[in-house]
C-alpha cells in the first residue's frame, strides 16, 4: 500500500458529527429544516437572545444513548453539558453547548475500530461570505442563517485504529449503515447530516508511539474523505522523506484542486 511508504505507517482517527433526526432542535422547540428560506426556524433560544435558556431535547439524549448501546459504549450514569466559549458570528451565544469531561458515552467499538467517546452538542448557524474570497477575511459582507443553528449533533470520536484511507472510507460506510438502521440520523453527507474530520499521523511501522498529527476538517463526501486522507498521507511522507517534520495544524482539503491548505488561526479556533 502506497501510503505505508516502506517503513512508515499511517495512523488515522476520525471525528464524526451526525445530525440527529429529531423533530426539533437540541435546546429549543424550533423544527429542523433543510433548504427552507433563511431564518424561518428561529426563536429566542436558538438566536441566543438575552434572557433565553436552553432545555435539552429528551429525544436527542435518547438517540445519543441508542448510539452508545449500538457501539457497545459505557453509558454515563450522570452526564453534563459544558460551554465551549469563542466569538464567531455563527455562534449567537458566544459559546457552543457541548460536552467536555462527562460525555454521554465512553468506549465501545464498531468492527475493529475502538470508540473513544460519543457526546451531544448543538450545531452552529450557517454563514455565507459575500465577495470574491468566499471566506470571512476579505469578504464584502457575511450573512447568517440561523435555521441550522442549534441542530442536535452526536459527535463520535474513534481511537486512532485506522491505517489507510480505504479502510477509513470502508469503516465510515459501516458507521453510516449502523446509524441509518438505528434510525437516529439521515446520515446524508450532501445535506451535511454526516460530517467527518480525520486526524492523521505517520510513524515507523510496528511502533507504539504516535507521530505528530494534523487534522483534516469537514470533508463532505466519501470520495473526498478518501482522497483527502490519501493526499495528506502523501504530503506527510514527502515532508518526512525530505528531512522535514510534521507540525500540528488544522488543514483544509480542496477537492477541486486536490490541494491541502492550512486554515488560518482565527478560523481554526472555531472547530
Amino acid at each position: 500500500m502506497s501510503e505505508q511508504g516502506g517503513e512508515l505507517e499511517a495512523v488515522i482517527g476520525l471525528e464524526i458529527h451526525i445530525q440527529l433526526a429529531t423533530a426539533t432542535k437540541m435546546f429549543c422547540s424550533c423544527a429542523l429544516s433543510f433548504g427552507d428560506p433563511p431564518n424561518t426556524h428561529t426563536c429566542p433560544v436558538c438566536l441566543g437572545l438575552p434572557g433565553s435558556l436552553p432545555v435539552a431535547n429528551a429525544r436527542a439524549v435518547h438517540f445519543g444513548l441508542m448510539i452508545g448501546l449500538a457501539l457497545g459504549s459505557e453509558l454515563a450514569p450522570r452526564s453534563i453539558f459544558h460551554r465551549k466559549n469563542y466569538f464567531y458570528p455563527d455562534l449567537p451565544k458566544g459559546y457552543q453547548i457541548s460536552q467536555y469531561d462527562e460525555p454521554l458515552c465512553r468506549g465501545g467499538h464498531l468492527g475493529e475500530v475502538r470508540i473513544h467517546r460519543v457526546h451531544l452538542e448543538e450545531d452552529a448557524a450557517k454563514l455565507t461570505h459575500l465577495g470574491a474570497s468566499g471566506r470571512i477575511h476579505g469578504s464584502d459582507a457575511s450573512i447568517v442563517d440561523f435555521n441550522r443553528g442549534g441542530t442536535p449533533l452526536a459527535e463520535i470520536v474513534t481511537e486512532p485504529d485506522l491505517r489507510s484511507a480505504e479502510q477509513a472510507g470502508e469503516w465510515l460506510k459501516l458507521l453510516r449503515t449502523t446509524m441509518r438502521r438505528l434510525g437516529v440520523s439521515d446520515v446524508n453527507m450532501e445535506e451535511g447530516s454526516l460530517r467527518c474530520d480525520a486526524n492523521i499521523s505517520l510513524r515507523a511501522a510496528g511502533s507504539e508511539q504516535l507521530g505528530v498529527k494534523t487534522e483534516l476538517k469537514n470533508m463532505n463526501s466519501f470520495r473526498f474523505i478518501e482522497r483527502g486522507i490519501r493526499a495528506e498521507i502523501a504530503r506527510q511522507q514527502k515532508l518526512i522523506a525530505g528531512g522535514g517534520t510534521v507540525t500540528q495544524e488544522t488543514l483544509h482539503f480542496d477537492p477541486a484542486s486536490g490541494a491541502i491548505t492550512s486554515l488560518r488561526s482565527k478560523e481554526e479556533a472555531h472547530d
Binding site: P50, G51, S52, L53, V55, N85, G94, Y95, S142
Partner: protein
C-alpha cells in the same frame, strides 16, 4: 384620595379593588403619574425608572393581585418594552418575548407600570454602575439606594410604585431593600423561573419581590413560584405560598452566627440588630449561637464564581444581532472589540476580565474549581446550622446607605456591602430583609435566612418580627 392611595399596601389595594371600592384603572393612573413625574424630574427626581407606561395598562386581567401595578427591574425581558439591563450595549433593545416571572404576575393581575433602573447587568451594590445614571435614596438624596435592584427599592420606598420585581445574585434584592427601609425577599434558587431574566451569574440569579411589607412579599411570591418548561433549573415549589399571619415566635429557634454579625458591622447597624434580637426573644423565640465557619470566605468564592459565569453569559453581546454595534470597524475582531469597549461600563469589564482569567486554560481548577469547593462547604455549614435552629439572623448590610460616589473608587469596599448576603446566595437558600430600625435617620435591614423551600415559615417569622418592630416606612420627604 391621593395620600390615601399612597398609604395602601399592595394587598390592601387589591382588597379594595376586589371589593369594588377602588378602580384598578384609577390606581394605575395614580402610580403612572408619580412614576412619570420621577422620570421627567431629571436631577430633581430619584431616577428610579428607565421606562414608564405611557397610558392606561394595556390589559389588567382580573386575578388575585387585583390590578395592582408592578414596577419591574430593567433586566427582565418585556415584549416591546426597552429591556436594557442597565447597559448601554442594549440601549433601546426591545425583546420579542416576556420573562416568565413578569408574565405570571401579569396574568395574576399585576400590569406592567414601569421598568426600574439598576446596576449594569446587576453588577453593583449602589446603583451607580447604571448606564442610565445613579438612583438616589429617598431617605437622603445624597446617598445611594443600594444595588443592584436600586431603582426597584427606591421606587417602592418613595411610593412611586406599590411594589416591584427585582433580582438577587449576591444580595441585589436584600441589600437595597435594607438601605431603602423596605422588604426584599430572595427565594430558594430554582423556585422562580429565570427565563427572560438577562443573565448575570446563572447559578446564583433569582427573581424576588421588593415590597412595603412581608404580606405583600408573600402575595407576589405566591404568583411567581413554580416549574417552567423554559427553565430546566426551575422546580415545582412544594405546596402553596400562604398569607403570613404569625404574631409570636414561641418555640422558634433563631441562630445568630458570630461570623456575620460582629466584625465589620457598623455600630448603629449593630445596635438596631441587637434590639431586633431582644424583640425576637420577647416574642418567644429562643436565641442560639451558631457557627458558619466558612462564611468569611464566601465573598472571595463569590468573586470568582460570579465573574466566571458573567464572562461567558455576556459573550453574546457582540454587536452582531442586537443592541449597539460600533461603526467603522476594520474587520470582525475590531467590530467585537469596539462594540464591547463602547457598550460595557468599567465594572462589567472588570468582572469579564476577572472571570475570563479564572476560567482560562490551566487556571480553571485553581480558581473556579476551588471556589466551587468553598461553595459546597458553605452550603454544608448552613445545613449543619439548620439542624440546630429554624432560621439564621444577621444584619442585611454592614452599613446604612452611604454617600453617592463614596465607594466608586474602591471596588473592594463596595463588594463588602454583600458580606452578609452572599453566603445565602452561594447556598441557594431563601433569605428576607425587613427594616428593623433607623441609625442616624437611615434604615437598617434585618436578614432572616431559612433552609431551602422554607419560605412559608420564613415569611411567618418575618411577619411576626415586622409587627413587633413596627418600623415606620415613610421616608421623611414623601
Amino acid at each position: 384620595m391621593s395620600s390615601d392611595l399612597l398609604e395602601l399596601t399592595a394587598a390592601q389595594a387589591a382588597g379594595r379593588i376586589a371589593a369594588g371600592e377602588l378602580s384598578a384603572a384609577a390606581l394605575f393612573a395614580f402610580y403612572r403619574e408619580r412614576a412619570a413625574a420621577d422620570r421627567a424630574g431629571g436631577e430633581d427626581g430619584l431616577n428610579c425608572f428607565t421606562w414608564v407606561a405611557e397610558g392606561a395598562a394595556a390589559d389588567a386581567p382580573a386575578g388575585s393581585l387585583g390590578g395592582v401595578p408592578l414596577a419591574v427591574k430593567d433586566l427582565f425581558c418585556t415584549r416591546g418594552v426597552p429591556s436594557q439591563s442597565g447597559s448601554r450595549i442594549l440601549e433601546g433593545y426591545e425583546p420579542p418575548y416576556t420573562a416568565t416571572a413578569v408574565e405570571r404576575l401579569r396574568e395574576a393581575g399585576a400590569p406592567l407600570l414601569a421598568k426600574t433602573n439598576q446596576d449594569e447587568f446587576a453588577m453593583g451594590s449602589s446603583n451607580e454602575n447604571s448606564a442610565y445614571g445613579p438612583v438616589r435614596n429617598p431617605w437622603d438624596r445624597s446617598r445611594v439606594p443600594g444595588g443592584s435592584s436600586g431603582g426597584s427599592a427606591a421606587a417602592v420606598a418613595a411610593g412611586l410604585a406599590p411594589w416591584a420585581l427585582g433580582t438577587d445574585t449576591g444580595g441585589s434584592i436584600r441589600q437595597p431593600a435594607a438601605l431603602c427601609g423596605i422588604v426584599g425577599l430572595k427565594p430558594t434558587y430554582g423556585s422562580v423561573s429565570r427565563y427572560g431574566m438577562i443573565a448575570f451569574a446563572s447559578s446564583l440569579d433569582q427573581a424576588g419581590p421588593l415590597t412595603r411589607d412581608v404580606r405583600d412579599a408573600a402575595l407576589m411570591l405566591a404568583q411567581m413560584v413554580g416549574q417552567d418548561s423554559c427553565d430546566a433549573t426551575s422546580l415545582q415549589f412544594p405546596g402553596e405560598i400562604g398569607v403570613p399571619s404569625a404574631e409570636r415566635l414561641d418555640g422558634v429557634r433563631l441562630g445568630v452566627p458570630a461570623e456575620l454579625s460582629g466584625e465589620g458591622i457598623e455600630a448603629g447597624v449593630k445596635e438596631a440588630f441587637d434590639r431586633s434580637l431582644e424583640q425576637a426573644a420577647a416574642l418567644g423565640a429562643e436565641l442560639l449561637d451558631v457557627s458558619l465557619p466558612h462564611a468569611p470566605h464566601a465573598l472571595s468564592a463569590y468573586y470568582v464564581l460570579a465573574p466566571a459565569e458573567c464572562s461567558s453569559n455576556l459573550a453574546r453581546f457582540d454587536g452582531v444581532r442586537y443592541g449597539i454595534r460600533a461603526e467603522g470597524a476594520a474587520d470582525l475582531l475590531d467590530m467585537y472589540t469596539r462594540t464591547r469597549h463602547d457598550g460595557f461600563g468599567p465594572e462589567v469589564k472588570r468582572r469579564i476580565m476577572l472571570g475570563t482569567y479564572a476560567l482560562s486554560s490551566g487556571y480553571y481548577d485553581a480558581y473556579y474549581g476551588r471556589a466551587q469547593r468553598v461553595r459546597t462547604k458553605i452550603a454544608e455549614d448552613f445545613a449543619a446550622a439548620f439542624e440546630q435552629v429554624d432560621f439564621i439572623l444577621t444584619p442585611t448590610a454592614p452599613t446604612v446607605a452611604f454617600a453617592l460616589g463614596e465607594k466608586t473608587g474602591d471596588p473592594l469596599a463596595m463588594y463588602l456591602n454583600d458580606y452578609c448576603t452572599v453566603p445565602m446566595s452561594l447556598a441557594g437558600i431563601p433569605a428576607i430583609s425587613i427594616p428593623c430600625g433607623l441609625s442616624g435617620g437611615l434604615p437598617v435591614g434585618l436578614q432572616l435566612a431559612g433552609a431551602a423551600f422554607s419560605e412559608n415559615k420564613l415569611l411567618d417569622a418575618a411577619h411576626a418580627l415586622e409587627r413587633a418592630l413596627a418600623f415606620d416606612g415613610s421616608p421623611a420627604h414623601v
